[in-house]
Amino acid sequence: MAAKAKILVVEDNEDNRELLVFRLQQLGYEILVASNGKEAIETAARARPDLIFMDLRMPVMDGWEATRALRQTDWGKDLPVIAVTAHAFEEEKKSAFRAGCNGFIAKPILDYSIIQKKIQKFLG
């Protein structure tokens, strides 16, 4: 990877956010954080990340709505968004893709090489 890619982590649970941020920093990425969908859109509009990890169930604005909103913008319509959720049900996966997410990871992440693979898939 040439330049350090910028990744936005959107997650309302502080502990979970810290966890993912820690792992991503280990992998050498530059990290931005937001704790709900609304903050995510504001941060993304300002800082233009290369990829977003998006929790789905969040207060204020959830991940589905935030992803749909991103898809309406010029700069966000092709931005890779990977849904991250502690949800065991598969409808959630389906609905995440319908909202415009490009990938899906279920929490807890038992194998962290998955994160790297997902990022590489989108950022090369």
Binding site: N16, A86, H87, A88, F89, E92, K94, K107, L110, Y112
Partner: protein, 369 residues
């Protein structure tokens, strides 16, 4: 609310057409002359209510009702009885029909009946939605803290924040293993609950079964090593591709392997993955050299909360949900699960999951070569 879809099933044209005339102004009406045709139609159109003549040639009306209720227990049915044959009407009610009505029908009566049945269906669907939303929340709330525990322990275990002593490492391994165990239990309970409430969706796609088996086996590597059990996975190098629901196949296999590991103290576990083209299925076999199950207990093991020794100052902990969930999910996928076992010798589990027509074609051409 959208117009409800009503299916009229009657072999006689007279009553079929007159019912259609009555209902057509208010509902979308479909008709079927035979039971088989009715079931096919219910598979294609989201039917809200059926009116059903139980006395038909071919597939008996009660069977049709059973099949339709199996598909969606909240589809309402109104039994149409001919010559005051109460027996079949009562049989229909027993099978969950909303009510019955005798020919010739009174227009106002049948309209009122249909409307009441549809109201009940709407209420039940609403309840189902609430239940499923509740389950989704429970799942989320239980898994979130667990995922934090597992996540931070794995950071410590990977020694990303500092070197661990052997003892620290051992202690954290135990935290990790038990958290994973808890996660498995939570997932099984939730899976069983959503199977019971009938709102588990089927998510089919193409995937490689051998890979699923390997991924899950990997999670047990540590435990197997500690117990000194060898695990061999025999899967063709070319892979065994199929079209099914990978998450469910993976859960079934996970539960079966979990049992094999748990109930095997020494020896080996062999996993075989292969196609059985003539039966149109992918087979997953799990063969262990564990404690085994006496023949007359095998069926009982599929009941929830059953373990062989329920009373025991139990040697083995657990809820006994694994096999129940495995069996129910296998049924859900249209597969079969067979267990052969001999106490103190071991257990041989055969899971067969059908692959869909899309891949069946290539399978047949493979056979011809």
């Amino acid at each position: 609310m959208d117009r409800a879809n009503i299916l009229i099933v009657d072999d006689e044209m007279g009553p079929r057409e007159s019912l259609k005339m009555i209902l057509k102004p208010y509902f979308n009406v479909y008709t079927a002359e035979r039971g088989g045709q009715a079931i096919e139609m219910a598979n294609q159109v989201p039917i809200d209510l059926v009116t059903l003549d139980l006395k038909m040639p071919g597939l008996p009306g009660t069977k049709v009702l059973e099949k339709i209720k199996q598909r969606d227990p909240d589809i309402e049915a109104i039994i149409i009885t001919g010559y005051g044959s109460m027996d079949t009407a009562i049989e229909g009610l027993r099978l969950g029909a909303f009510d019955y009505i005798s020919k010739p029908f009174d227009v106002q009566h049948i309209l009122a009946l249909v409307r009441r049945a549809l109201e009940r269906r709407a209420a039940r669907l609403k309840l189902r939605e609430i239940k499923s939303e509740f389950l989704a929340n429970v799942s989320h709330e239980l898994r979130t803290p667990l995922s934090v525990v597992i996540g931070f322990v794995s950071i410590l275990l990977d020694q990303l924040v500092g070197k661990l002593t052997d003892e620290q490492h051992r202690a954290l391994e135990k935290v990790y293993k038990n958290s994973e165990e808890l996660l498995g239990l939570v997932d099984n309970v939730l899976c069983l609950t959503s199977l019971n409430s009938g709102d588990l969706p089927l998510m089919e796609k193409e995937f490689e079964v051998g890979l699923v088996a390997k991924e899950i086996a990997q999670r047990y590597a540590k435990q197997l090593e500690e117990k000194g059990i060898e695990l061999a996975i025999q899967s063709p190098a070319s892979g065994v591709r199929t079209v099914s629901d990978p998450a469910k196949v993976s859960r079934i296999f996970h539960n079966l392997l979990h049992n094999a590991v748990k109930f095997t103290a020494k020896g080996q576990i062999t996993v075989k993955v292969h196609r059985s083209a003539n039966r149109g299925v992918v087979d997953l076999e799990i063969i262990d050299t564990g404690v085994g199950i006496p023949r007359d207990h095998i069926e009982g093991m599929f009941q929830p909360f059953q373990q062989l020794d329920g009373s025991m100052r139990r040697e083995f902990s657990g809820l006994g949900l694994g096999l129940t969930v495995a069996r129910r999910l296998t049924d859900f996928l249209g597969g079969t699960l067979e267990i052969r076992s001999q106490p103190n010798v071991g257990t041989h589990v055969l899971l067969s999951v059908p692959y869909r027509a899309a891949t069946q074609k290539s399978e047949l051409s493979e056979l011809r070569h």
